[in-house]
Chain length 203, copies 4
Amino acid sequence: MARTQIQPQPTAFQGTSKRERILRAAVDVFARSGYFNAKVSEIAKAAGVADGTIYLYFDGKEDLLVTIFREHTRNYLQSLEQQLADISRPEERIRVAIRHHLETLGRDRALAVVSQVELRHSLKFMGLFSQMEVADYLGMIRKIVEHGQAEGVFRRNLHPTLVAKSVFGILDEMVTSWILSEKEHALADQADAIADLILTGLL
Amino acid sequence: MARTQIQPQPTAFQGTSKRERILRAAVDVFARSGYFNAKVSEIAKAAGVADGTIYLYFDGKEDLLVTIFREHTRNYLQSLEQQLADISRPEERIRVAIRHHLETLGRDRALAVVSQVELRHSLKFMGLFSQMEVADYLGMIRKIVEHGQAEGVFRRNLHPTLVAKSVFGILDEMVTSWILSEKEHALADQADAIADLILTGLL
Amino acid sequence: MARTQIQPQPTAFQGTSKRERILRAAVDVFARSGYFNAKVSEIAKAAGVADGTIYLYFDGKEDLLVTIFREHTRNYLQSLEQQLADISRPEERIRVAIRHHLETLGRDRALAVVSQVELRHSLKFMGLFSQMEVADYLGMIRKIVEHGQAEGVFRRNLHPTLVAKSVFGILDEMVTSWILSEKEHALADQADAIADLILTGLL
Amino acid sequence: MARTQIQPQPTAFQGTSKRERILRAAVDVFARSGYFNAKVSEIAKAAGVADGTIYLYFDGKEDLLVTIFREHTRNYLQSLEQQLADISRPEERIRVAIRHHLETLGRDRALAVVSQVELRHSLKFMGLFSQMEVADYLGMIRKIVEHGQAEGVFRRNLHPTLVAKSVFGILDEMVTSWILSEKEHALADQADAIADLILTGLL
DNA sequence: GATGAATGAGGATTCATTCAT
DNA sequence: AATGAATGAATCCTCATTCAT
């Protein structure tokens, strides 16, 4: 038989590995329906695979969410490190980190929804969220602050961890706010204003 | 039979109205088990009422969550307004708002858990969360900022809404971080440091 | 509305308690479909209750099987003891026990099927089967034999436990054979012949 | 690549044919997990073949069970016939048949488990069990009895079929009892006592 | 107002079987 | 002959909600 069997590919492109297709479909479905309401069969359909196939690649619905979180965070940290590689001035490093956060999530609304909403379903997940890679992220910001304080460009009477959490908190709120707003403004547009606030303060 | 039947009252005092007992039980059970895993029967047991009784006072499980949120926010805003009543200096008003936020949630861990975790279960809830009373809360902070800018004590090149969201974002992150941390430090202890950061900035 | 709502009662009579109706329905459905192929919903339908109702009375499908076994054995032992109450001659006691076994199961084919087939689904169940009440049953026969040996009416060179197991094995095989045979002969008709064999032997 | 790839051969030796390896693995896995809980993939792994390979030799999971039963019974009957070949005295023939039964199953616990437990999963299987080769087995015993009665060494007032079933029932119970007992006594040790009971009776 | 027994819809997961390679 | 990745049908149980008492 010479005819090429063309299969429907609702969510992703052919050629992509099944694992990737499933993961992408999960992000989309979780974003659309919410984790608890999302049906595994819906994800399977969106990925163009059979229900059972998902269990060849993942341990179950929850593993899907954990994996999304883990891979996203890893990618995020890697690209952030790359962007910071050439920049040494602490002030500039803060600006880049802020912009990078907003750009990354601003580029993929479904991922942002999963990141801001679905990943925080339970204390258990929140703990995961905070103890693992997010801790690394906060650690990166904290080090920028510490460095800046050591160099004398940042005030020394602020606790670096508190600053790191604050930056994260602001960014987190901006992303959430952006997700919920109907308007289609670019999330990263706020990067400079946020940096100004953090760096210069209200007074 | 003359003997008075004494029923166990696990969560609340008997004097309290049934409605209050149910609401308080819901906060506790939601905090302990998470919204989706919480069983209505568990809440009923904790409140010392029959399952069906809950439906005399509320429309269902979801209504419990909505009501908790609504009443908490209303109480919160009322007490914040009282605290701000006598204070006119914008800087001081910011400080009071920050401290009030941390004190209120720092006083009731279960409520904090529900507020930080359970209320954000879905985009739908997040929307509710943002559009309603939270909007009022952000509005209050925004007005403080606007006032301060009008008086010339706050810099004028920061968008008031952005500042309001930032303050909220920082506080939100602090509360979440506090919930997840094992240590039993007082949440409100960080109020001054946060105010310093917001007011003075890093530089 | 004055009309009395008449509900279908496929398996059992109204008036019977829900618990009894469910148990009886389970015996029938297990006998018809086999334990593993039996659907809980099928049992519910046969009992005239909702699926969930079964879980108000039992822990699950397996508990249904265990309960059937337990209650059947208890009833069986009680009625056997009653029948033996007035009989003292060991030979006669053996005859009564044999007849009672065949009559009890011969009266309820579905129960016999569950007893002979479904209760032996797994080593685990077989163990349950053997260690618990069945042990009591074997114990009763063993004591009859011991008594007969003490009185000098039974040969003393046969181990009472072996005899008890043999009697049980013969009866068990007869019941199984009866279940599988198409012919509708009365099971208890074989009681005397079996007793003769056990008592007199082949020679 | 010159190195010989040595594969693990959990259950059987490599020299054995694939078909034999699969069958032996099935006996072991059925005995260990029970028929319904046994996974085809587990059998495949134990046999050192791919899942799909099993379907080249057998029609499916059920066919494995049927085949085990059939081959076991055929082997059993053949070896029984050999053992009986030189023996003419009815009494002795009965003794040999009894010992042979206990020795055969006492030699292979997994096979005994499958034979006593797994083969009786359903009425359907029980029917198979009884109508086919087991019928031949019962037939062999029945003929011994008939012969003995014709020769005048066995009592004539016992129905040969009933005696055959009784012998089978006793042996069956002994094997089951042996499987379930923790103690490691030899099953065949009971052969003589059983023969005595059957031949001489209790009285 | 209160009760709590009863309902029944809904879904994650398993695993025997297939078939392209 | 052999593989093993992929399939997808099939079901037990939970629990929010109702309503007769």
